[in-house]
Symmetry: C2
Subunit: 318 residues, 2 copies
Amino acid sequence: MKRSYKDLIKGLITNDRVCLSKLISSIESDPSSIFKIIDSVKRIPNKVYTIGVTGPPGAGKSTLTNQIIKKFRSMDLKIGVIAIDPSSPFTGGAVLGDRVRMQEHSLDTSVFIRSVGSRGDLGGLSSSTSSMIKLFDIFGMDIVIIETVGVGQTELDIIKISDSVLVTLVPEAGDGIQAMKAGLMEIGDIFIVNKADRGGAEKLAREIDYMVSLKHDSSSRKNKVLTTQAENDIGVDELIQEVLDFRAHEESSGALVKKRNRRKISELNTMVEKRLRNELEKTKETATFKELIDKLENGLLEPEILVQNVIDLIKKSN
Amino acid sequence: MKRSYKDLIKGLITNDRVCLSKLISSIESDPSSIFKIIDSVKRIPNKVYTIGVTGPPGAGKSTLTNQIIKKFRSMDLKIGVIAIDPSSPFTGGAVLGDRVRMQEHSLDTSVFIRSVGSRGDLGGLSSSTSSMIKLFDIFGMDIVIIETVGVGQTELDIIKISDSVLVTLVPEAGDGIQAMKAGLMEIGDIFIVNKADRGGAEKLAREIDYMVSLKHDSSSRKNKVLTTQAENDIGVDELIQEVLDFRAHEESSGALVKKRNRRKISELNTMVEKRLRNELEKTKETATFKELIDKLENGLLEPEILVQNVIDLIKKSN
């Protein structure tokens, strides 16, 4: 039996994982369904804290994410994970070992993992990721982790939705310069040199720290560069502490509220522009619009004169 | 003394070159002035035929354009030229010889040449070029030639405004493949291998002809490939004949009307979208909008709920 939207939303609020899963699917198949959901719940708790984990393929993002989940679970926090990285075990693209490691969380009802395909249309991915975070928020999650490969503009746009961005790198030749190129330096709040047992880790950490210094101004907190060996749980506690410190600092300085408000305004803008495009498309289906186009095609009216008529049509429509 | 808009438009209709020049300048400094102009004249004669001349730098586009002007002048046609090519003598980027050659036309009151800088903002260039063609049309020109370097997407967009597109190439290694890459093959109606006294001209012409055959379907007229030596006035008469034939064919088949109507509809679309963006910006200045943003920032309303309020605000505005 198919459940009604109302029931699904009721279930979401009362912590029903099946309802969460079904609502995420509905967002994926019809992005506009977020409007119905928000209209029904009216207010979002705004309690969730989002952490973006990004970096080049092979940087160990999944292993690190896995450790972060464990640490937060030991603090009894509820965690949602959105994995957009196609090489992530969450999205099914990794070796068996990683997958097995993930399965321990799949039995934990306080962890909800969702993989999102990034192969298809990336255009709407940023807004549907944002919608998913809202669902997690309503569901009562404390933390949402977004994992994505920091390679393209869209991936960077998605990761920017996060309250804090963790950039993960590995000590390999040219990684520092690669990071700059990919725009990762611009978006990172905390930098992690993972697989720090490999040669060159300290050198890379110093390089990044130098780049961080360059863009740092005295009015703000300087971004930290940490070294980890996620595989062996080395440096992860320090990372968690830094995430908590960063959050506390941004909360007390008002930076977090500002960041979230900028995001909300930008979201509103995107939604309004999309709605206006829809209004235009709807108007094009009307008989009046078709008559105007006839006149245009018959040389009776120039586009410069017609434009106001079309605007009027859009304004009059419901 | 500064002349009023009304006077300038009156002058434009009565063939005053100074008024044409001033109105073109007003389009350049304020693109929206075309609305006032069209609103005043109401209808455009739609008599002008536009020819786009494009190709890589050094293909001899300016020399060719110069010859085309001469031929059309001998047929007593009035000609407007819009030069967007930064290397064109019209835009002042060429050797003295070319410039001197142009000056003969500057004394001819039936030729009006306007250079347009392409270095700055290219975004509005396509629509302001279209506006200039309309001014030439109202002024009573028979032919408008648009000269541009076929290198970027914007240049291709501009040249697409033409009723016929002349792609000029020179026999140099790899030119054929370059043409395909630059999208020139897609937009060309007539292909010209200029500087045909150089080695490899016949080979290039055959190559292009082969590429033309590939995209040709039996329902349409096959695009011609001609060889010229513009410098020595060789092959230019044949080119003019082909332009006239192409035009006659597109007029009798209805293809020209279709092409122009598609262009008008696309223009209308661009104008409506621009106007909607303006309406949104205007709305953002209202007190009501600012109150809504306050509520958003204070977490009293979610963007998903606000979007309809903003649309309503836009619709209610004048």
